[in-house]
Point group: C2
Chain length 266, copies 2
């Protein structure tokens, strides 16, 4: 049993989709969220920079008493998960492994497509995670950087979005993947477009899978919180023009407790 | 006369288009360029953050002996130019004023369209600059954030780019602007798309106008360098995967002298 909070970080506010899932599955848990909005996005930065940022973010969450760390950022998970694990004494999970486990469970023909930002795809982190779990899986990674901008622009049903998705998803369709793993916090909002182009196959939203994984781990480690009504505290390294509006879209509840925090390097 | 360098900063490497112009017009000048690639883009950050970043960047260039500062970033110029000016003892110019002067010179019907990132457009900096120069000008600002991602993805002639441009540029076309000011370092690469949709009107690439403005000022202040073959030193706060390839596309010459630098907050 532990009243200490679960610490969650992301490069921005997209990771609030993970917070939403944790709040749904584990309503008793206190949560401290850190969004590194001053330095987002991570996907266009160097691996060294992402590792440095990830360690700083983790240090902040630990200083707030975190009993468990969730890396809700795909770029961070891709290149910094192992190093973050070595640097702290609490359990750390990323957003890649839980989605991969779900995809392996769902696929019948062992052909899985993974879509994400360029860094996530080119890091090879997904290929490695699939290989470690089920060698039969053939993984087709496709970098789709424009999807992030389209979601942020709110053009979910613009004809250009369909055209872009047709170009991006064609190799996955040609290869007859029966499962697509959405490896970016923003992509679930494009689900209707994916369905239109790829049809009735399996879709894995990794953010959703993280929740049940964390619940299992907390139980196993006897780290759950028993008191009711967990709190949520949100820290952001920058408060941009419309962070609250976009944040609440991801979180599906009002953002009540938030404040700006300055990390060493943000 | 002064051998000291001209200092130029941008949030990333797009500002190398300004460097290219300065090198062409003022080949004798030494240049120190700082790209804050660890924190790019600025357009999605808060005004406070952009001001803070801009002051840090300026401080770095001054510490390298800059005799003249050029803010090659549109977001920075929009919100931080006046504050940077107050903080240093050398002349500072931004990328907005020179483009506005050119547009005022070219427009016949006094209807000018300005395209840029959301922050540049919503800051109102362009409206103010036009109002101060020629009250007759009617300015139609249009935020086009997806253009940045399309240029970075290299989709300059994808059908989706045409569709997106049609949506973005429609209000400018409907309003019969006779001049379009490209208020973002990335947009000149989309010139063929602009021409296809807007037709034969005037286009102002502000980066190009900055060069002659700086030449005039250096002459007026007697700060030119007389020795031949100015040097170019490039500092970046992060060296990402493909910065050199993209940088050379903007610069049109090989990037020879570059190194990573850590600012206080980057």
């Amino acid at each position: 049993m532990s009243d200490s909070p679960i610490g969650i970080f992301d490069s921005g506010i997209g990771g609030l989709t993970v917070v939403k899932e944790i709040r749904r599955i584990l309503p008793n848990e206190n949560i401290v969220y850190l969004g590194d909005t001053a330095r987002l996005p991570y996907g266009t930065k160097s691996i060294d920079a992402i590792i440095e940022f990830s360690l700083e973010n983790t240090e902040f969450l630990i200083s707030r008493g975190a009993k468990f760390i969730i890396i809700a950022c795909y770029s961070s998970t891709s290149v910094a998960l192992d190093i973050v694990r070595k640097n702290v004494n609490v359990p750390v999970i990323g957003v890649i492994q839980p989605g991969v486990e779900k995809a392996v469970e769902l696929t019948k023909n062992h052909k899985v497509g993974v879509v994400g930002t360029s860094l996530t795809i080119y890091s090879g982190a997904y290929e490695k995670a699939f290989r470690d779990l089920d060698e039969r899986c053939e993984v087709l990674g496709k970098a789709c950087p424009l999807f992030v901008s389209l979601v942020e622009e709110g053009w979910l049903d613009h004809p250009a979005t369909d055209l872009i998705a047709q170009t991006y998803l064609k190799p996955l369709k040609d290869d007859n993947v029966d499962t697509v793993l959405l490896g970016c916090t923003h992509f679930p909002l494009l689900m209707p477009v994916f369905r239109k182009i790829m049809g009735k196959i399996n879709y894995v939203d990794a953010s959703r899978e993280v929740g049940s994984k964390v619940a299992d781990e907390l139980r196993r480690l006897e780290l759950q919180r028993d008191a009711k009504n967990g709190t949520l505290m949100i820290y952001l390294t920058d408060l941009s023009m419309n962070f609250k509006e976009i944040g609440e879209r991801f979180l599906s509840e009002p953002m009540k407790n938030f404040s700006r925090v300055a990390l060493k390097g943000s």
